[in-house]
Amino acid sequence: MSALMFEMSEKARALGVPLSVQLDLTYRCNERCVHCYLDHEDHGEMTTAEVKDVLDQLAEAGVFILTLSGGEIFVRKDFFEILAYARQLAFCVKLKTNAILIREKEAARIRELGVESIQISIYSHRPEIHDAITLVAGSLKRSVDAIRFLRSQGLKVIIANVLMAQNMQDYPGVRALADELGVECTLDPTITPMMDGDRSTVALGVGHDGLREVFRDSSLVGNADEFCAIPAAPEESELYSLPCSAGHTACYVSPYGEVFPCVQFPLPTGNVRTQRFLDIWRHSDKMKEVRSIRLKDLTTCTQCTHVTSCSRCPGLAFMEGNMRGPSSLDCEKSFARTGVASANMLAKAKKQNVTGLVQIRAAADLVAVSA
């Protein structure tokens, strides 16, 4: 984030302005990525008119950065109508897409409408790996073709490379592909649970050794020793800082009009189909609760070595059962990075011993019931 953007974000936070919103236009998708956290059935997504009304409300609320995502945004037949409307309202529009429906004509239209950037998911530079993740034959070629069309229009493209065990070894190839295409590349080793809480997708992740490899790769992190150093004890003032921007300057609107603090934080705070966006943003008790949390309020994490350096996601913590609690996925990252177990990991290890005692008690209960 640039210094100026940081300054604007701080100002927006002080004023209570949602500077950045992700609006998912649909959960439908033309790929079936093995790690995807969404239910792709359409359960009644917002109509064109409803989406336009939401955009009006977001502009009125002061939203500047609007990320249009999904699902796959281009499966909506009204996508360009929505995009044109968003640009009329002068949003800084970013798109997230698999891009397989983008050809020359679509790329030219995106350019004409003044989109800021297009983030495209690429899992590998090898079709046999990428296509095995998207479960769509030929999808890598189509996505890469799309990147070329977009680049030929002078558009800014960012490759998003999500890492799993399945494609872990290919990230250098993806980065080389990005260089060849003249685009940026981001790498994310986090596989999140499904929106409904099903954690089966998490098992697809790169695991401890994979995380260590990524965190030790100086081409990604710069000085690896510095990046992986054990953090110093936090200053008292640092414990008053915010866990992240969710609910402070950012939030998420689903295709069904539900408003959440973040795309990764499925705490329902209201629905724009029945309430004004600003009423939800300003007055929802749940949004206020999210906003009230400081690092000092976290259970377990305040005692942790990693409290100020951890990438702890409040949404992932919420999905584990407590928005003030730890996020195990981030604990694993802190552990892989520094070699120091988190307070949560130590507590869990201790609890596992207690679990043995619980089993003995359950057996006793059974005896009691039989008697």
């Binding site: 100026l4 100002k11 302005v17 939203v63």
Partner: protein, 105 residues
């Protein structure tokens, strides 16, 4: 002396935050913030109102400044913003009038 017309470049992204306009360049994603004077100029830049009228009607009353000095400063500012492709300048009225209600947001 010929009139100068100014219009907001429709390719930029813009939003007003606490009276100051944030502008994201459509050319290279550079972020700009405009001070209150520049924000007034941006909001009034509909492509149809000449710059001197904008200065007389919107800037002078707001800042109690000498009209000639204000116009000189506004011209300099407008050319600077045009250099960043944030505004368009012409001696003729410019293109389709932008929706002024959007500009105030």
């Amino acid at each position: 002396m010929s009139k100068l017309f100014v219009a907001r470049n429709p390719r930029v992204a813009a939003r007003c935050l606490d009276g100051e306009m944030m502008i994201m360049s459509g050319r290279d994603s550079t972020l700009f913030t405009l001070n209150r004077t520049a924000t007034i100029l941006w909001q009034a830049a509909d492509g149809r109102t000449p710059l001197d009228e904008i200065v007389a009607a919107r800037i002078c009353p707001e800042f109690e400044v000498d009209p000639d000095t204000a116009l000189q400063d506004a011209e300099s500012l407008a050319r600077d913003l045009a250099g960043h492709q944030i505004l368009e300048l012409s001696e003729q009225p410019i293109g389709q009038p932008a929706n002024s209600s959007e500009a105030r947001r």
